[in-house]
Each structure stands twice: as C-alpha cells, then as structure tokens.
C-alpha cells in the first residue's frame, strides 16, 4: 500500500515542484530522493510496517512476490533516474512534469504488482500507460516523436477496448470482477470447468496483455514507438513498464488460466505466441541498422523468453520472472544509458568506442552479454530459470530447443555492437561523459555480474 499511495503523492509533489523549484537540475535529485523513499517504504511494507492501513475489500492482495517485484521495479527506476536523469531534462522545458509522469507510472506499476481484481488490473494498466503516451510524445518538435505517440495512443486504445471487453465477458461468465472465482453453481460449464463466456473473456484479456508486453503478433506498435520516443523514455518503457506488464500477466495466469486449463489448452496458445515472438523479435533484429531499433526488436525477443514463465506457471517460473525482470531491466537501462550518450545511433556510430571511451565500451559489453544470456552475467540465470521452468512441466520440450536456437541468433546482433566497439576502426562520438555517469554504469555492470554469480541474492528475498 505504501508504494501505491506514496508514488501518487510524490507525483503531485513533483508537479507542484515545477512552480516552486527554480533550478531545473534539482528536479532529478528530488525524483531520485522520492524513489529512494518509495524503495524504503516498500521494503518496510514487506515486513509489515504499513503507513496506510485500510480495508481494500479484496481489490488488492499483498504478497511477498508482489513486494519483491515492486522493490525490483523501484530500484531499477532509481538506477534509471540516477544514470539518465540528466538526459530527461534535455527534452522541452517541462522537466518536472516528466518526473511527475514517471511517478504516476510507478503508481500503476505498484498497482499491477498487488491487484487482485480485474478492475484494479484495468486501473493499473491505464494509470501506467496513459503517462507513457505523453512521455512518448515529449519531444514536441520532433515529428517522429509525435507520430510514435499517436500510434501508441491509437493502438493502446484499441487494446484497452479489447481488455474491457474481456473483463466484461469474464464478468458475464462468473458474476464477479475478483480474480478468485467460485464456479460452482454457474450453469452450462464448458468441459465442466468454466463458462464459455469466461473463456472468451480470458482470451481477450490475454490478447490485450500480450499487446502490453509486446508479444507477437500484437507487437507491431513496439518498434515504431520505441524508435520514435525519446531514447530516455524508451529505456523506461522497455524495462520497468514491460516487466510490470509481465507481473500483471503472470498473476492472471496463476489464478484464472490455471483454473480453466482443463477447458482450454493455454499452453498451446502460449506456445504459438512464444514462437511468433521469438521469431519476429530475433529474426527482425538481425537486419536492423540502428542500434535503437535493434534494441526495440531485442525487447520483443526478450519478451518471448519472459513468456515462458506464463507458459509454465510454476514456482520456478515465478522466481524466474523476478530474476528476468531484474536482469533484463538493469542491462537494458545500461545499454540505453550508453545509447543516449551516442551522437549516432547506427551500428557505425559505435565503431571504435572502445578506444575513445574504454569504460563505456566495457560496461556496455557486460550489458550486451547479459542480454545474450552468457554465463557469469545475470541474463544467463534469467534464461536458465525460464527454460528450466518449462523442462519441469515435462511437456513441450521442443519449445525449449527452439528458444535456445533463437538465443543463439540473438548473440549475433548483440555481438555486432561489441564488434563495432572493439574491432572496428572509427571515431565514435559521444556527448560529454561525467565521472558520476561512469560510476553509475560500473555499479549496474557490477550488479549484473553479482546476480550472475549469485542469483540467490534476489530470490532469497522471496522466502525470508
């Protein structure tokens, strides 16, 4: 509860701050402080020190899993603000508002971590997405940014429509918005498990959530929006927001999909989505010329891996999705932080970076290795848990093989960046690099390696 309410309050504080604080540069410090407060408050909440105790009538459910994810999300945002906060003020004059929007997003994220009702799910999704439409279009004088925002809004509205329809069907089939359903006494159960209406509703919910996590074939908005949006915000969207989408998704799967799995073969549906996502993400990323666009496709490909947790919905998958969220968020934030500093976003723009900025190149290499899932980085264990979860279910083993093959493809486009940085001659031009920025990158790289060596450092929180 702390995180939901405090993030909303802090968002308001940030908005007021735009009137009261004169120096633009101070906003990011206020924001970073706010995230720190959120982080501490959320941890306190985990151990039962809640500031706001009131009855939410079962609309929210506070679990260890939700708390831990929320902590990871807030911590990632904190890192994000610390190393790219400076860049946020580069777009327009309304820096404080951008930070305010980020806090609104965090409010939605927290809601998704704890929702236990389709209405809170809807609220969380919308609170999270609407600020993103604005952030996407925040580079007002840039046509691409405007185009991306409009596209995002149009398609986002479409998926919202589908989601609402799904919720309505589900309500029609069960008589409740709550996730916990008693299906006894409902007439005409399909396969004696759930009403047909509910299944249709769940299918539609699945589609809309697949849209949010940019799973194929509902991913089309992703490359255009990620490419068009200012890079700093792409970074935010591709990491924390996407991970939150997955947390919402896996919760729905754990409760509703598992209960109805005798009526509809969800594994088959997810298998189709996973294959499509891995294929589109990985294959398309191969041919991209811009690193930013490549990262957009790579985020689709990574989503393909995260979908495995929805496929296998067991304890391993729950642990895995947390690890994946942390690993993927940290690495992507790092890569985008470097990308934002580059003058040229194409692969050629990275040529010879290792000679000019050895530390940037080295840390960027760690991030890329983590995304590719190379051992000793967090990405390895993240992928390992995902695939192990599927192996534990004992079916669809061929899917694991397909995933590994696509992971091999992904090595190609991630290593293209490393190759450009280290083995090609060129004059990679960057913005001015401050020592604190370098320190931030080093911290992220160290975290990635730490998690890669000892993944229990995160997962132990689930149980203690």
């Amino acid at each position: 509860m702390n995180a939901i309410i405090l993030s909303a309050i802090w968002a308001v504080i940030m908005m007021l701050g735009s009137f009261m604080v004169k120096r633009k540069g101070n906003f990011r410090h206020i924001a970073a402080f706010g995230l720190l407060v959120l982080f501490v408050a959320n941890i306190a909440d985990t151990y039962g020190y809640s500031l706001f105790n009131f009855n939410n009538h079962g609309f929210l459910q506070f679990t260890r899993f939700g708390y831990l994810f929320n902590s990871i999300a807030i911590f990632s945002s904190l890192i994000y603000v610390l190393i790219t906060g400076k860049e946020i003020s580069r777009y327009g004059n309304h820096t404080a508002e951008y930070f305010a929007l980020i806090f609104f997003v965090m409010c939605g994220v927290s809601m998704l971590a704890f929702y236990n009702n389709l209405l809170t799910l809807f609220l969380g999704i919308e609170i999270m997405t609407i600020p993103l439409y604005i952030l996407t279009g925040s580079d007002k004088r840039n046509m691409k940014s405007n185009e991306a925002a409009l596209k995002y809004f149009l398609m986002g509205s479409f998926s919202t429509g589908i989601m609402l329809m799904g919720i309505v069907f589900s309500y029609g089939g069960t008589g409740t918005f709550s996730l916990d359903v008693s299906r006894a006494g409902i007439p005409n159960l399909y396969n004696h498990v759930a009403s047909f209406l509910e299944i249709v509703g769940l299918l539609l919910l699945l589609v809309s959530l697949a849209f949010k996590v940019s799973a194929a074939p509902f991913h089309f908005w992703t490359p255009d929006v990620y490419d068009g949006a200012p890079s700093v915000f792409t970074s935010f969207m591709a990491t924390i927001v996407k991970a939150a989408g997955f947390i919402a998704f896996i919760k729905l799967c754990l409760v509703r999909m598992t209960a109805t799995s005798a009526a509809i073969d969800w594994k088959m549906i997810f298998a189709i989505i996973i294959i499509a996502t891995l294929l589109v993400g990985n294959i398309t990323a191969v041919f991209q010329q811009s690193v930013k666009r490549m990262l957009a496709y790579s985020s689709i490909a990574q989503a393909g891996f995260m979908l495995f947790s929805l496929f296998s919905v067991n304890d391993f998958a729950k642990e895995g999705i947390l690890l994946y969220s942390a690993a993927y968020s940290l690495a992507t934030i790092g890569i985008f932080a470097v990308l934002v500093k580059m003058k040229d976003y194409t692969f050629e723009g990275y040529n010879g970076l290792a000679k000019k900025q050895p530390l940037l190149a080295a840390t960027n290499t760690v991030f890329l290795l983590s995304l590719a899932g190379i051992p000793l980085t967090a990405g390895f264990f993240a992928k390992y848990y995902m695939l192990a979860a599927v192996v534990k279910t004992g079916s669809y083993l061929w899917l694991v093989i397909v995933a590994v093959l696509f992971a091999a493809v992904s090595v190609y486009y991630y290593f293209r960046v490393i190759q450009a940085m280290y083995f090609k001659d060129g004059n990679a031009e960057t913005e001015a690099i401050t020592p604190s920025f370098k320190a931030g990158l080093l911290l992220v790289a160290a975290l990635i390696i730490l998690i890669g060596v000892y993944p229990g450092i995160i997962l132990n929180w689930l149980y203690f």
């Binding site: 596209k151 149009l154 398609m155 479409f158 589908i162 299944i199 249709v200 299918l203 539609l204 699945l206 589609v207 849209f211 074939p217 509902f218 089309f220 908005w221 490359p223 255009d224 509809i264 073969d265 088959m268 549906i269 189709i272 294929l279 589109v280 294959i283 398309t284 990323a285 191969v286 041919f287 083993l397 061929w398 493809v409 190609y412």
Partner: protein, 635 residues
C-alpha cells in the same frame, strides 16, 4: 604437527609465485636466493620428516575435500610414508643443488628471464612434490600434469628458437599420450572401486578381477612410459636437451622421469598381482635399456649421450620393477639421481667452458683446464658403469641378481645392456676430457674452470655418487641392506639370501672388474683417433641416426595424421561446416529482410494483423484437441 608436510610443497609454490609475479622487479640475486631458498627450506623439512618416519607407520594428512559430489569424494590429502619421504629427499636435495648451480650457469640471462627461469624451476619442484605426496591417484595426476607442463615450459625456455619450441611440443605431446593411459587407469579404478586413495584401493584389490588388474596396471604403465621415457614414448627425452643444461639435470635426475618408477613402486601391490603386466614392464624396460644404449654409443652431442644413457638407465629401473625387485628399482632411482645429476651438471660446466659447444668431437684434453669438473665427472662415469663399490655398482649389481633369479635369458641381455653403458660412458670420457684438444683456438683460449656455485654441487654429488650406495651394501661384502629395511613398511624387498647369492656376488664383482678393464682399453683404442674421420657408415650410421625411430613415427603416425587433419581442414571444414554455418547465417539474414516488411508503419495494417490473430486464437481454441493430437504425433 603432522601437517608440517604441507610446507614441503608450499615453499616452492611460494617461490614460484614470488618469482613469477615480480619477475620484472626482482634482481638476479634476489630471484636466485628465493628460488634456491624455497627448495632448501623444503629439503630441511624433508630431512625432519625422514628422521621422524624412520621405523614409524606412515600416515595421511587430509587438507580439504578436492572433489565432493554426492557419494563420490576425493580429498586433497598427502601420504607421508617411507617411499614418499625418500622421494622428497631426492627431489628437494638434488633439486636444491641444481638450483644453486643454476644461479651461476644462467647468469648471462636478463633479470626478468632469470626470475622466470627460477619460477618455472620452483613450479617444477612443486609439481613433483605434489605427485609424490598425493595420497590418491588423482592428486598424483595433478602433479603428473604439472610436471608435464613445467617440462614444456623449461624445454622451450628459449622460446625464440623454433627448434626448441618443437622439442618442447614433442615432449608435451608424448607425455600427453602417456597421460591418457594414466587417466584411463584412474577412471578404471574409480569405476570399479569408487575410490582413488592408495590405501583403500590396495585394501580392495582382491575384489578386482584379473582382467581389471591387468588392464589397470598396463594402463598405468602406459602413463609411466610417457613420463619415464620408455619404448615407444621415449623419443621426447633426447630432444628435451633443448632446455638449459641444469633443467636437463633436473628432469633426468630429481624429477619427471623418476615419476613413472615412483608410480609403479607405489602400486607395487597391484603389479604383484599381475604376472602379465610385470613381464611387460620387465621386457619393455630391458628393450629400452638396450636400444638406448646402442644409440648412445654413436652420438656426438655430449647432452644427447647423457640423455640416451638416462633412457637406458630408466630401462634398468623398470626391469627391476618388472621382476618384482621394487626396492631395487627405487634404489637405482636414488643412485642414478646422484651420478646423472653429477654428469649433467658436469656437462653443463664443460659446455660453459667451451662457450656453448656441445659436440664432443671438438673437445678433448679438458682435464688440464677443468680439473674439478673432470675428476667429478670421471667419478660419475665410474659410478654409472658400475665400478666396484660405487653407488652405481651396488644398485646395478642388485638389479642383475634379481633378474638372474627370475630369468637367465633376461639376465644375459641385461648384462649386455650394462656393458653398453660402460662402453658409451668411457667413450664420452675419453673424447671430452683426455687426448688432445680439437676445438678452435678461441675456444682453447677461453677454457676455464667454472665458479664455485657450479663446482661445489659437483663435488657434493661426486661424493654421493661414490659412497651413496653403501646404505644398501650386500651382506656378501659385509654390509647391511638399510635401504630395503627402511622401505619395507611400504615396498616389499626381494630377498636374496643363501650362500649361492654370495657366490654370485663375487662372480659378478670379478666379472665387472674384468669387463670394465676390457672396455677401458677397447674404447680408448677404438674411439680415440678414428672417430673424427667424417661420416659413419653401415651399422654405426644406423645407430648414430637413432634406429630411424623418429622417421618411423613421422612416416606412420605424424604424417598420416597431418594429412588427415589437412583433409578435415580443407574439405570438411571449409566446404562442409563453413558452408553449413554460413548458409544458416545467410538464411537468417534473408528471413530478416522479409519479416521486416511486416513492419509497414501503417496503424491500419497493424490492427488488421491483430484482429486476424485474435481470430486465429479462437480457431485454435476451437480445434485444440485436433492440434494437440497432431503435435503428439510429430514430437
């Protein structure tokens, strides 16, 4: 207090680390003191252990669990008993002398290389100590591999010379072939018994079938062949002369080549159970002794002669092991360590004086300028030839008697090998030290005795070579076999009792004296003058060219393998694998270009795709049973 043994390998390891890590900043004096000092400290502790273990039970010192997987456990443990302590003394004692000698011999090197040299030397000693101290075959294998690595590093010490690198590679590869045998033996033991610890393996030996025992012992022997340079894996040892001369002394006397003998002596319980393996060991050993002896007869490189003599003497050791005289084999390791180290260091002194010249046809008459080197070397020659009551006489005598009791045929072959030994050694002695000088004027002018750091080790070793055998003087000559007694808790001795043995001893003594006298005059005549006329012909050429064994290996193994590798590279790799791999890459690239077109930028078409997909999902839901059925049929 027991764990003091872990200090023995620790000091050389530290020496290696210090010299290795700080080689750029250490002065030569510092590097030399650290290198030699580390081994000296180990030697002092070894002496303590020796005085401690005498007449006591051996014990095992567990340091930590090396491998611990489920029920399978291998601990990093040291075995302290009479056999291992004896080897500790040889390794650290002789090793220390060689280190001291090296400080003078290598002083032309630049400081960084000098420290590198001592780092390798320390690592070598460390590996050998690990090999000897390990309480199970796995730890022995670690040391075994370490020794192989260090020999590679030291033989290729002057790595800018391609030939030397080639020799280093050859040593490494030959050793690896042997190592494979050793490794298979370890796997076999682990597979059958679930443990590699000596005491446990030996306790459980009766649960093994005869085939198991034979296979294990033969595979172990393959390993020993590699490390101890026996037929067919001996060819690396003569080439190993590429390293600095003290390294040769280290390899030939104190470390490395004795590893195989140690291993078989350690496993004597197993070998005693297999008649076949023992016979193989004996015959291979004897054949090696003779083959190497004949080759040594016509080599012109001073180090090559000594190298083949080592191979030949190792053959003697294996012969002893093969006929069941395990203590005798180990005893010969010890005496051989004395006189072979002595002669190698002596050869180093000669080469040093000759300004790098190694060809004995260009030497001669060195006794005038190098008295200390000459007389110590002569003692070495007498010892290796078996001059009565030198250490070599006593050990070789005992080998011959043991063989005699086993088989008359083998005995006469062994005698022949012993005659060969005396022959090539006397030849070497005549050509190098006596007669007139045959080198250039500058060389003659340059001749000088070596510094004290080199001659003092020579003198110590000469004394040992002379009197070191008395610890095992046969009773027939009024001695007592202290050596056998010392080792008896670990290695059973072959008893030679009764009056017939004494008679044989006296016959052998007489025979040796007469034989040596004959060889003395023969070699003096045969080799002194006619040697330098030019090329060898006939049998001599055949022997001088080492029986063309290297050429044989090249023709039948190396070249066919190279050709096969070339085929794999040019055909399978280039067109097969590369084609496949690049094909996959091209395919992915092509797909990428096509799939990319879906991303048209038109919101309308995106929405259309989404709606179509939703429809597909409903269709899948509708037909899920058919699809599931279809999928199970495929996978």
């Amino acid at each position: 207090m027991n764990s003091i043994v872990s200090l023995v390998p620790l000091f050389p390891l530290l020496g290696f680390l210090i010299n290795g890590l700080f080689r750029k900043s250490l002065s030569k004096t510092a590097a030399g003191i650290i290198g030699s000092g580390a081994v000296l400290l180990s030697f002092i502790i070894s002496v303590y252990l020796f005085s401690d273990i005498k007449g006591n039970e051996g014990y095992i010192v567990n340091l930590f669990d090396f491998i611990n997987v489920a029920s399978f456990k291998i601990s990093f443990a040291f075995q302290v008993d009479q056999l291992s302590v004896l080897f500790l003394l040889i390794i650290t004692g002789i090793g220390f002398l060689i280190h001291v000698y090296s400080t003078a011999y290598m002083k032309e090197e630049v400081p960084a290389d000098f420290a590198r040299y001592f780092a390798y030397l320390n690592l070598f000693v460390f590996s050998m100590l690990l090999l000897v101290l390990g309480a199970n075959y796995v730890i022995m294998f670690i040391g075994w591999e370490g020794v192989g690595l260090c020999s590679y590093l030291l033989i290729g010490y002057w790595f800018s010379n391609t030939d030397y690198n080639y020799a280093a590679k050859k040593a490494f590869i030959m050793n690896r072939i042997g190592d494979l045998g050793f490794l298979l033996a370890i796997f076999w033991i682990l597979g059958k018994l679930g443990t590699a610890t000596y005491s446990e393996v030996f306790d459980l030996r009766n649960t093994l079938s005869e085939t198991d025992i034979t296979a294990i012992t033969l595979l172990l022997f393959v390993g020993a062949c590699g490390k101890s340079a026996q037929i067919p894996l001996y060819t690396w040892l003569p080439d190993a002369m590429a390293g600095p001369t003290p390294v040769s002394a280290l390899i030939h006397a104190a470390t490395m080549v004795t590893a195989g003998v140690y291993m078989i002596a350690r496993s004597n319980v197993l070998y005693a159970m297999s008649e076949v393996s023992s016979d193989v060991v004996a015959v291979v050993g004897l054949a090696t002794a003779i083959l190497a002896g004949t080759i040594a007869l016509y080599q012109n490189d001073i180090k090559k002669v000594l190298a083949y003599s080592t191979v030949s003497q190792l053959g003697f050791m294996f012969l002893a092991l093969g006929v069941g005289a395990y203590t005798t084999g180990v005893f010969h390791v010890m005496t051989h360590a004395f006189f072979k180290a002595l002669m190698f260091l002596g050869a180093g002194s000669v080469i040093h004086a000759m300004g790098g010249e190694q060809d004995i046809t260009k030497m001669g008459g060195l006794y005038k300028k190098l008295p200390k080197t000459t007389w110590t070397f002569v003692i070495g020659v007498l010892a290796i030839s078996g001059f009565p009551f030198t250490s070599g006489f006593i050990s070789k005598d005992e080998i011959l008697i043991s063989v005699f009791e086993k088989s008359q045929v083998l005995y006469w072959f062994a005698v022949f090998a012993a005659v060969l030994t005396a022959a090539y050694m006397f030849r070497l002695m005549w050509l190098v030290f006596f007669g007139g000088f045959r080198g250039t004027h500058e060389q003659e002018h340059h001749l000088h005795e070596s510094p004290a750091a080199m001659t003092i080790p020579l003198i110590i070793l000469a004394i040992l070579a002379l009197v070191g055998g008395f610890v095992q003087l046969p009773e027939a000559f009024g001695g007592k076999e202290y050596f056998n007694e010392f080792l008896s808790p670990v290695v059973p001795a072959m008893s030679h009792e009764g009056s017939s043995v004494a008679t044989t001893e006296y016959y052998m003594l007489t025979g040796t004296v007469i034989g040596l006298a004959v060889i003395y005059f023969l070699t003096r005549k045969k080799f002194a003058v006619s040697m330098f006329e030019g090329v060898y012909t006939g049998v001599k050429k055949f022997l001088a060219d080492k029986w063309y064994i290297d050429e044989l290996y090249d023709a039948f193994i190396v070249n066919p393998l190279n050709a096969f590798a070339g085929f794999l590279k040019s055909v399978v790799e280039r067109s097969g694998i590369d084609g496949l791999v690049n094909g996959v890459g091209r395919f992915v690239n092509y797909s990428s270009r096509q799939v990319r077109l879906l991303q048209s930028g038109q919101v309308g078409s995106y929405i259309l795709f989404m709606v179509l997909s939703i429809t597909v999902f409903f269709l899948v839901f509708w037909n899920q049973d058919n699809i599931a059925h279809f999928l199970t049929n495929i996978f």
